[in-house]
């Protein structure tokens, strides 16, 4: 799967290096020396060099966030926002990209780096998979990472990362969304959820909803983001019912999810009816904006 023309690894590396240089001097000389050494090392020597530098990067570069300096990188998986990346993740991505230039297999190098890493290193590897010229070659690595129950690592795969949305098949993507729901990771940070939603995901979410209700437990409020896009009539009815929930989070996410489903007359009617009754101004704006947009589209 390719979203756009592959961008040269060197371009991403330059953009990240520039952001690093802008946010402080710590470890920069060390990083540049290692990048140069990696570019010059023979394919059989590149992994050992990469693994050593990758492990030590956090201590040299620090963990400060790139913030506003973090570039939006145009990757084969789509745009990648690096503003929430730490200096360590940015430096580690540069090291991986530099190592790729030596002719080693990209998939093998990324996988070996992942497997040899501690939690912080593994997190950095999965954040940078989209930067590979052909990200799909690292699918095995991403799938291994997504089996972890370390929530820090799991969040790096699932949240703010275009990789799963672009490279996972439906079965893997659906599992990822369900695992986010199970563990309380926010679905509005799963990139491509709206585009990748499918009837099977809607059915899985509906089942999960029913299990939680049957067990007398709470239903995660953001479930509607995954359930509504391809929901069955019953699923849509469940979402519509939550427009009147006592819990503002449920009302907000149900409204957000349902405005994209106003093709259904029942949904359109439920949204229109709710606008008049909604007490929360923010949620009312979502509902009202949707109905206005609907008439404009028509």
């Amino acid at each position: 799967m390719s979203y756009s023309e592959p961008v040269a690894a060197a371009t991403h590396q330059d953009a990240l290096l520039q952001a690093l240089a802008g946010s402080g001097d710590a470890g920069l000389v060390w990083l540049r020396q290692n990048l140069e050494a990696l570019q010059q090392s023979a394919p059989e020597a590149v992994f050992a060099k990469l693994a050593g530098a990758h492990a030590g990067a956090r201590r040299r570069l620090g963990e400060a966030l790139l913030g506003a300096l973090g570039p939006e990188l145009s990757t084969a998986c789509g745009p990648l926002d690096t503003r929430a990346w730490g200096r360590d993740a940015a430096g580690r991505a540069c090291l991986l990209l530099a190592a790729l230039s030596g002719g080693a297999s990209h998939a093998e190098l990324a996988d070996a780096l992942y497997r040899s890493g501690d939690e912080g290193e593994r997190t950095a590897v999965v954040k940078s998979l989209c930067l590979l010229p052909n990200p799909a070659v690292a699918l095995t690595t991403a799938r291994v990472a997504a089996r972890t129950n370390s929530m820090r690592l799991y969040a790096a795969v699932a949240l703010d990362n275009p990789y799963p949305g672009q490279c996972y098949d439906d079965a893997d993507f659906n599992q990822l969304v369900l695992k986010c729901l199970f563990n309380g990771l926010p679905l509005n940070r799963v990139i491509g959820l709206q585009r990748r939603a499918n009837p099977r995901l809607a059915a899985m979410c509906e089942d999960y909803h029913d299990e939680r209700v049957a067990a007398g437990r709470t239903v995660p409020a953001d479930i509607w983001l995954a359930l509504a896009p391809c929901a069955s009539p019953r699923g849509l009815a469940l979402a519509c019912a939550r427009l009147a929930s006592e819990l503002p989070e449920h009302r907000r996410f149900a409204a957000q999810a349902l405005v994209a489903r106003r093709d259904s007359p029942e949904v359109e009617a439920a949204l229109a009816e709710r606008v008049a009754e909604e007490s929360d101004a923010e949620i009312r704006a979502i509902l009202a904006g949707a109905t206005r947009a609907a008439s404009a589209d028509a």
């Binding site: 050992a48 693994a51 050593g52 492990a55 201590r59 501690d118 972890t148 129950n149 370390s150 929530m151």
Partner: protein
């Protein structure tokens, strides 16, 4: 009192131990790589062992509010398997760069063979190259000779003595280390090696500078509470609370702090969040998660 156990093999201990250690005031531990009671037969077992010291075990410790660090090395017993040790040596540079690794160790002599000496020297050199302290195990048999030869090798390799701790010392071997700049490690065991009272006597005779005490608890008969028990014995013998804090908390951390990967200020009680899961396994087995604010 706050305590730090600078040498304990937690992989072979139970969750009860972690609970008791936390309750006794232990805020952090260092787990040196050692042997597993029987020789390993392949390099992959070392990889998985090192990864456990850097992954699962620190996570498990954190569930009980204990900070966990480790040292990486080929122990003297297994150094006698030359072919295997050569493969492990090839792995070490990348492990020695990990954030959780605070020293090379435990290394040293066991039977005092030429093979042991080769990998002991090579690992002292690696420690020097990576700017890491080195944790030296002294042998149970022929201890005085083993200690003398360890100190000679330290000088020969040229690693700064301040970066070295010589461990498992007793009344006969401590005086040898007192003549050097090395730190002095003592393992307080239920029966052998050293007792709390003997430890207190050594502290009275030699002072508290560079003195370190550990439990060296492992899969054999040992007691993971020996550090706090030594603290009680020190207080009973008239040492001040600051003396106890120095020997049983600040000294060991300051020794490992030479790695640049641990500080006294960093070793506090972490928030316990037992709902955090690691690698498909939780230490929770049906109990109610304890979450501290």
């Amino acid at each position: 009192m706050r305590y730090f156990d600078p040498h304990i093999h937690m992989l072979s201990r139970t969750t009860d131990d972690y609970e008791n250690m936390a309750a006794a005031g232990i805020l952090g531990v260092v787990e040196p790589a050692f042997w597993q009671g029987q020789p390993r037969t392949q390099v992959g077992t070392f990889i998985d062992y090192f990864d456990a010291l850097l992954g699962w075990e620190p996570f498990r410790a954190s569930q009980f509010g204990i900070n966990h660090f480790c040292t990486i090395g080929i122990n003297p017993k297994e150094a006698n398997d030359v072919a295997l040790s050569e493969q492990v040596m090839a792995l070490m540079p990348r492990y020695l760069e990990k954030d959780g690794v605070v020293a090379v160790g435990e290394i040293g002599y066991d039977d005092i063979t030429p093979e042991e000496e080769r990998f002991f020297a090579e690992q002292l050199t690696l420690a020097k190259e990576h700017g890491l302290p080195a944790l030296i195990h002294t042998p149970h048999r022929d201890k005085v000779t083993g200690t003398e030869r360890s100190l000679a090798l330290v000088r020969e390799v040229g690693i700064n003595e301040e970066q070295v701790v010589v461990d498992h010392l007793n009344e006969l071997t401590l005086p040898l280390v007192m003549e050097t700049g090395c730190w002095r490690g003592h393992s307080v065991y239920p029966n052998t090696k050293m007792s709390e009272d003997r430890m207190v006597a050594l502290l009275k005779a030699y002072g508290t500078e560079k003195m370190i005490v550990n439990s060296a608890a492992d899969w054999g008969r040992s007691d993971p509470l020996k550090v706090p028990k030594t603290g009680q014995a020190m207080l009973a013998a008239g040492f001040s609370e600051d003396d106890v804090d120095l020997v049983l908390f600040r000294n060991p951390i300051n020794y490992y702090a030479q790695s640049g990967r641990i500080t006294v200020d960093q070793v506090t009680r972490p928030n316990i969040d037992q709902t955090r899961l690691y690698e498909d396994n939780s230490v929770l087995r049906g109990q109610t998660p304890l979450i501290e604010p």
